[in-house]
């Protein structure tokens, strides 16, 4: 019987000594943020059901620290858009994204959120990246819970490697302006 192989997540680069681990503040804060994501489940359709399965005991997204779901954008880190977004819903998604506090990430779950899916029609927004900047796309119709967890793990990698100053940078500001989000300062 083979030993089960557990893939362990490597610690960030740093200097270690007995009882001490020294690393940069960026990496420390990134580690803390990545392992305590508070997602905002913007579940619209079938992918929302797969998300329910992901949060349930069998697949358990809570293992990764994402146990506390927030339906208010003020307290959420990760906007998970799961399901078909109609064109009428698009400004609402954008406003919810805008009202999240930095740092914030967006996960587009499913084919409909990524590109409109099979709904090539007058009423469906062809991908939420027409209204909000998306960090990770999870394709599938619907994606299996393992794939959603894989997407969240990729978000975790992004979070761990993000610098503390990224949200104050002019690149981020111009990224938001590209989506029509106008800063007032």
């Amino acid at each position: 019987m083979n030993e089960p192989i557990y893939k362990k997540v490597a610690p960030p680069e740093g200097y270690s000594a007995p009882g001490v681990y020294a690393t940069t503040l960026d990496k420390l804060v990134g580690l803390a943020r990545a392992n305590s994501i508070w997602p905002l489940p913007f579940a619209t359709s079938c992918c929302g059901i797969e998300f329910m399965a992901t949060m349930a005991a069998h697949y358990d997204l809570g293992r990764f620290g994402a146990e506390r779901l927030s339906f208010s954008p003020r307290q959420a880190d990760l906007l998970m858009v799961m399901g078909t977004i109609a064109k009428k819903m698009a400004p609402i998604v954008q406003q919810v994204y805008e009202q999240m506090a930095e740092p914030r990430w967006v996960l587009a779950v499913g084919a409909c959120a990524s590109s409109g899916g099979i709904f090539d029609t007058y009423s469906v927004l062809q991908g939420i990246d027409r209204v909000v900047p998306v960090d990770v796309y999870v394709p599938g119709c619907p994606p299996r819970p393992e794939q959603i967890i894989d997407g969240v793990m990729k978000i975790q990698d992004l979070i761990k490697s993000e610098t503390l100053r990224r949200r104050y940078s002019p690149e981020y500001r111009s990224l938001l302006e590209k989506y029509g989000i106008q800063p007032i300062n």
């Binding site: 064109k87 009428k88 590109s115 090539d120 007058y122 009423s123 062809q126």
Partner: protein
């Protein structure tokens, strides 16, 4: 009451000219012109007991003379009889009187029919788009468009093998 009795009582009140009655799948279907449709529904509701408006929908027959149609489905809950009323209008003059004064539920149903077919309901309190975005400048369910719009920017063609 059976369908025949309903039709008999209906024809006592309404002149049979310019009226077409048939029965499809056990449901009585009466086609009227637009001027009489409001009185017909009022008569059915008040005198014959058809107090439940199941649906108002629209339809577009591109090959007919009067292309746009409005179809009303009424239901007599006491005696379990359903009836369908149809009325047809032209695209140039798509005006139909509203039945919101008879059935409050007709409000949103007529808005939906307006949204998708462009049929104007005279006397409607709030006739504006209900399911589509407000800036949509065409009526989607009319059969006026080719199946794939070459000027559409939504989907990128090379992803779909076109």
């Amino acid at each position: 009451m059976s369908n025949e009795e309903v039709l008999k009582q209906f024809l006592e009140k309404f002149d049979a000219s310019d009226l077409h009655a048939s029965e499809s799948f056990d449901m009585l279907t009466i086609t009227l012109n637009t001027g009489r449709i409001h009185d017909a529904i009022k008569f059915l509701r008040n005198d014959l007991g058809f107090g439940f408006l199941t649906d108002i929908c629209g339809i577009h027959y591109p090959d007919a003379e009067k292309q746009l149609g409005v179809i009303y489905h009424l239901h007599n809950l006491q005696e379990n009889i359903r009836i369908r009323l149809k009325t047809f209008v032209t695209i140039a003059n798509p005006n139909v009187p509203t039945v919101t004064d008879l059935f409050a539920g007709a409000n949103w149903m007529e808005r939906e029919t307006f949204d998708f077919y462009g049929i104007i309901f005279d006397g409607h309190p709030n006739l504006k788009r209900i399911l589509n975005v407000d800036y949509l400048d065409y009526y989607p369910l009319r059969k006026e468009y080719p199946l794939e719009d070459p000027t559409r920017e939504d989907k990128e063609d090379h992803f779909f093998g076109r």
